[in-house]
């Protein structure tokens, strides 16, 4: 086992893990055994800038917001890939251009779908 070339790496991994988890364990032990505890309902209540919190924290968001996420993704991903594409455009081969075209068309299809669905109309 020691002759394995990855043995040193394994030792390093375990040491690194101990380095991270050791302080956490010490902090946990200190809190568990030594920290003075004075819990009460006021202290354990939800922190809300001093005010009594209203309602439940587990509120539901409208699922209709997925549309905004999708449209954001279309433009965001497009921008991220179009910039390097434009920079390297003159040195690209036909295959690369075709691949990029397919990619852009896929995103445009998403946009067309959103348009047809009427998402882009304000109010």
């Amino acid at each position: 086992m020691v002759s394995n070339p990855y043995f040193a790496l394994a030792v390093l991994f375990v040491a690194g893990l101990a380095f991270g988890l050791g302080p956490l364990a010490l902090a946990w032990a200190w809190a568990k055994f030594f920290s003075p505890r004075k819990p009460n309902p006021l202290k354990n209540s939800i922190y809300e800038c001093g005010l009594v919190s209203k309602g439940d924290a587990w509120v539901q968001f409208r699922s209709a917001y997925y549309l905004y996420a999708i449209i954001f993704l279309i433009f965001d991903v497009e921008a991220v890939f179009l910039l390097p594409f434009a920079v390297a455009f003159t040195g690209l081969g036909a295959a690369a251009c075709a691949a990029m075209l397919v990619f852009v068309l896929l995103l445009v299809e998403g946009l067309a779908w959103a348009w047809a669905k009427g998402v882009l109309t304000w109010a």
Binding site: K38, N40, K43, Y47, G50, L51
Partner: protein
């Protein structure tokens, strides 16, 4: 241990300390105030944390925005009766050990608004205050002085015996009731645990 002997040993390169000293040294060197300002005194408090006055020299530059992570509440300004319940609730939500500095005339007595109907006449009616700073507003140097005073207070606290701080005393109260808005005043008008009722002489 004898102070003189301690200094002599220190000169020889031997550091002697007690658990209590070490504990209190750690406690006083990392007092994190709460990110919480009430009125004009808060501007002086902000100035104290900035480069010119540099509260970081005392290990207190980290202003925490949550009472769960803060040790020190600086009541920096006028406590109106509308705000008082929130202040007391925030104090309750802080973890032990916790300290309070009442900064400025308003926080310690109501100040220029003492005769008003809507200002609390001193936050020490509801929560125990460690250091009071007079002034309207106190200069940053005054806040630093109060901070050093608080550190001295922490340093001198024994960890055992009757003089031990509240957080080490299992029987000491940990909850300070939050007042509610009554018809004419806050209900109750004061917490009798920290604010003894004045005797009425007729």
């Amino acid at each position: 241990m004898d102070q003189q002997l301690k200094i002599e040993m220190g000169e020889q390169g031997i550091v002697v300390t007690t658990l209590q000293e070490l504990y209190n040294w750690g406690r006083r060197s990392s007092v994190w105030p709460m990110n919480f300002g009430l009125a004009c005194c808060a501007i002086e408090m902000i100035a104290t944390t900035m480069a010119r006055y540099d509260l970081a020299r005392f290990g207190a530059e980290v202003f925490r925005a949550s009472p769960r992570q803060a040790d020190l509440m600086i009541i920096s300004g006028t406590v109106t009766k509308k705000m008082a319940p929130q202040v007391v609730r925030l104090y309750n939500q802080m973890g032990e050990p916790r300290y309070v500095i009442a900064m400025g005339a308003c926080a310690i007595s109501g100040g220029p608004f003492k005769q008003g109907y809507n200002v609390l006449k001193g936050i020490d009616r509801y929560i125990p205050v460690d250091v009071h700073i007079p002034g309207c507003p106190p200069r940053p140097e005054a806040l630093l002085e109060a901070f050093m005073m608080l550190q001295k207070k922490i340093d001198s606290q024994p960890l055992t015996g009757n003089e031990r701080p509240r957080f080490l005393d299992a029987g000491a109260p940990g909850e300070f009731p939050v007042p509610e808005q009554g018809e004419h005043d806050l209900e109750p008008p004061a917490n009798n645990l920290v604010w003894p009722v004045a005797a009425v002489i007729r």
